[in-house]
Amino acid sequence: MRKTHRLAAAAAAVSLSIVIAACGNSGGKINTGKAVHGTPINGGTVTVAEVGVSPNLIFPLDPSTNSNGYNVNLTEGMWPFLVYIGDGASSAVNPQESLYSSLTYSQNDSVITIVLKPWRWSDGVPITSRDFTFVYNLLKANYNNWLGYTPGLFPVDVKSVLTPNAHTVVLDLKRSYNPQFYTDDQLSLIPLLPQHAWDRTSQNGKVGNYDETSSGAKAVYNFLQKVGTKMSGFATNPLWQVVDGPWKLAAFNSSGYYAWVPNKNYSGPDKPRLTKVEWTPFTDDTAEMNTLRSGTSLDLAGVPANDLKQIPQLEAEGYSVFQVPTPGMAQILPNLWPTGANAAAGPLLRQLYIRQALEYLINRSQLVSKVFGGYADPGNGPVPVSYGKQWDSPLEKAGGPYPYSPAKADALLKAHGWKVVPNGISTCTSPGTGAANCGAGIPAGDQLQFQLLYGSGTAAFDQQNAAIQSSEDAGGIHITLKAEPFDTLVSTTGTCNQQSHPASACNWGLQQFGYIPYTSDPSGAGNFNTDAIGNYGGYASPQMDRLINATEYGSSSAAFFAYEDYAAQQLPWLWIPLQSGVFVYKKNLAGITPTDPFQATLNPESWYYTKPAS
């Protein structure tokens, strides 16, 4: 079971090389699970399989040197975020489950008034605005050592925080933001933490207001992070028993096993009906599948990408199947910088028409159906079609700007002076920078060939990239494939742009990591801005920068579609299908579906067993 949360970027990308994706209109099956008939009953234990998941920190604010994305799986049920993302099957804000009762933007969207619900901590103490300022003070003093920090954003962008009463917080920001962006992307990263229990600098020290000075906030933050790594105390340290979410931790061991029991004082709407939820770790997919096939006690488990064909057998064992769109985007990264070994390919990839030809030659709907068994988003553009209707532009819904078309690829290349050799290597016959020429830096006789590096170890990726290689080859573009361990890819790939493109980290031409996780606001910020850290191939466009800025700082609700369509057309990355997470659950379990990409399988407060209808 994997979660791809906004804080989970790195780890989720790792897990994605194993399980992935999203569903869509173009061949992807939409399946929200089978209806459960029967009477709901209280009690029971649900055992959930988790492959390769091993949280290592219980303190909910991860340091910037700990990118274990699975920590949020452990903590979110105990310390939920101020803004709860996920409403039914939609990746939308869910006000009912969130900790605020109102969020109001004013003064040109530069002031946010947050009114907290009158909920209580598990020890009976009311949740107040002081708990918000506690978190704010900790982060303000330690933002450089917080994994969730994006340069320039929360908490650095806050001018002042006022608390006019016990349940109201007024955030005065240094600039105006698009409310949709700030709510979905920033406020959804902030949990409330119990100041009355955690504002201390040692285990047995007195609780005070240490967070109100910078040095005190640093001391508290350091203490909580240090004690937060002691696994032996995760389930026993009294600090971690003060929660405001629906669950408390009852057991934890270092292999990744943990168990939740209900927080009996939970104030929220979905009071847990189960007695216990056990998250049981598996070393790898094979071990998990063997267990599922052996009729054992697993109640909910992911189906590994390589085992989708075993779904009928699992259904025969008494499981129902559902899929969850992966919150992210699969892509092939083109490196536009002509450095080192990419000296020849860089100028080619800088040409939009060549990227367009490459995209036209990717048969995405075939990949969805043949490689991913229908369990994938078609990859029509930078936002998964299944992500939620508020995010999908009409262009993406219609199949994106570049549906599979070898004829259009052929025409594009010929129009730019290429001698196209199907099943061979096309060559440039018309060098130059005119509209009918090959383009800057491309000499006569230059060949259309690239190397595609990708993460090894997943059969689905091998099949996908072999299919891409084959269809590109048929269109005259030769691609050689090279698989490397994911961590090797990551460690040897830098962000290659005008400022920095060392040959040691920028030798690659095309690269496929698996997928890039998205935040709940799937804008291109951080990926396609000229200076973004995630802009690995060095794509640069002032127009793209303006459009992305409008999604973050503008007030127009149309800004997102404008960005989305432009990015889909400009191909800063090549779009490919994104595999969904596929899961099975026992047929007498209910409340699991529908689920959205962010809460997928992590909201057991909604689950319950049923008695068969008589």
Binding site: S254, N290, S294, T488, V490, S491, F513
Partner: protein, 318 residues
């Protein structure tokens, strides 16, 4: 004997240090950035710098090595970059589990393999010898993952007789032994590959011994065949088996990656493998150190056992 032991311990320490130096140099020359491998794709330069500083990776390699050795001497094997836990804790959790799993499987292989080898030697070049040799070689050459998956398909999936994995909540040795049914398949799979080695070494050694004069003499004296085998043949055929047993110590300590992965048994093998994939140097160094120590100790024990089993060797070396 004492001087011999002192000399061997000195040699062992030099070997372990050499292994450590070599491993340190090799893993620090892996291509790419460790910080990026750990922190992921979107690690900013500031986060990379913080990580490097936190773990001393911004220091020259010789300084890093000196600091590491000093820490090791004080019992500190460092902190895992990925798991954020002390390496010594991670090893201490996994080593006993592997020792149980691989210890039992080695014992089983020994108990089955040695008598089988002696039996085959007594029926040398007979049909039953050929059948048994063929069987052991077939099982030995079959990949253990294949044997594991076949057994699981048959025993667990088809008939639901046994569980195919260790429950994730069990980590202690006591817990593993209490859930002994989960041990059956991994022990059998690991023993299948080992038993061939033990039986064939015992067989060939016993064949040599059977041709030796002392066997002929005791038989000529009318000693019953059962006593010939148990009192004379068995002990003298054990020398090569002792060698294998000594050399299997690092295997026991190092874990069994494939069996651990298939049977959901988080042990030393998986710890090492996952660390190798993720540039988790402290774990790589820590496990290499432990396996290195086990290798020299295993050799040492084998040599000492030689002396115990064969007085001629003991006298020659003292």
């Amino acid at each position: 004997m004492t001087w011999y032991l002192i000399r061997r311990v000195g040699q062992a320490a030099a070997v372990v240090l050499g292994v450590l130096i070599l491993t340190f140099i090799l893993i620090h020359n892996e291509p790419g950035s460790t910080a990026r491998a750990i922190l992921g794709l979107k690690a900013t330069p500031a986060r990379v710098a913080l990580f490097d500083h936190l773990y001393g990776l911004d220091k020259p390699i010789y300084q890093q090595f000196v600091i590491y050795v000093k820490n090791v001497v004080h019992g500190n094997l460092g902190t895992s970059y990925q798991l954020q836990q002390p390496v010594s804790t991670l090893i201490a959790e996994r080593l006993p589990r592997d020792a149980v799993l691989l210890g039992i499987s080695t014992l089983l292989a020994l108990v089955v393999g040695v008598p089988m080898g002696i039996y085959q030697a007594l029926r040398h070049n007979m049909f039953v010898d050929d059948v048994l040799s063929g069987t052991w070689f077939t099982l030995y050459s079959a990949p253990d993952f294949m044997e594991a998956l076949l057994l699981i398909a048959l025993v667990c999936v088809q008939f639901h007789w046994l569980q195919p994995n260790f429950p994730g909540g069990i980590t202690s040795v006591g817990g593993i032994l209490a859930d002994w049914r989960a041990l059956i398949l991994p022990v059998v799979v690991l023993a299948i590959n080992t038993v061939a080695g033990f039986s064939q070494y015992a067989r060939s050694s016993a064949i040599q011994q059977l041709a030796a004069d002392y066997i002929r003499v005791v038989r000529a004296k009318g000693v019953p065949e059962r006593l010939v085998v148990l009192r004379h043949l068995l002990r003298n055929s054990l020398l090569p088996v002792v060698t294998i047993l000594g050399l299997s110590l690092p295997d026991i300590v190092g874990g069994a990656i494939i069996a651990e992965a298939i049977f959901n048994f988080p042990g030393m093998g998986l710890l090492f493998w996952q660390a190798a994939l993720s540039h988790d140097f402290p774990i790589l160094l820590g496990t290499t150190l432990i396996v290195g120590v086990a290798a020299v100790v295993g050799n040492l024990l084998a040599d000492v056992a030689y002396g115990v089993l064969d007085p001629r060797i003991r006298y020659a070396r003292t």
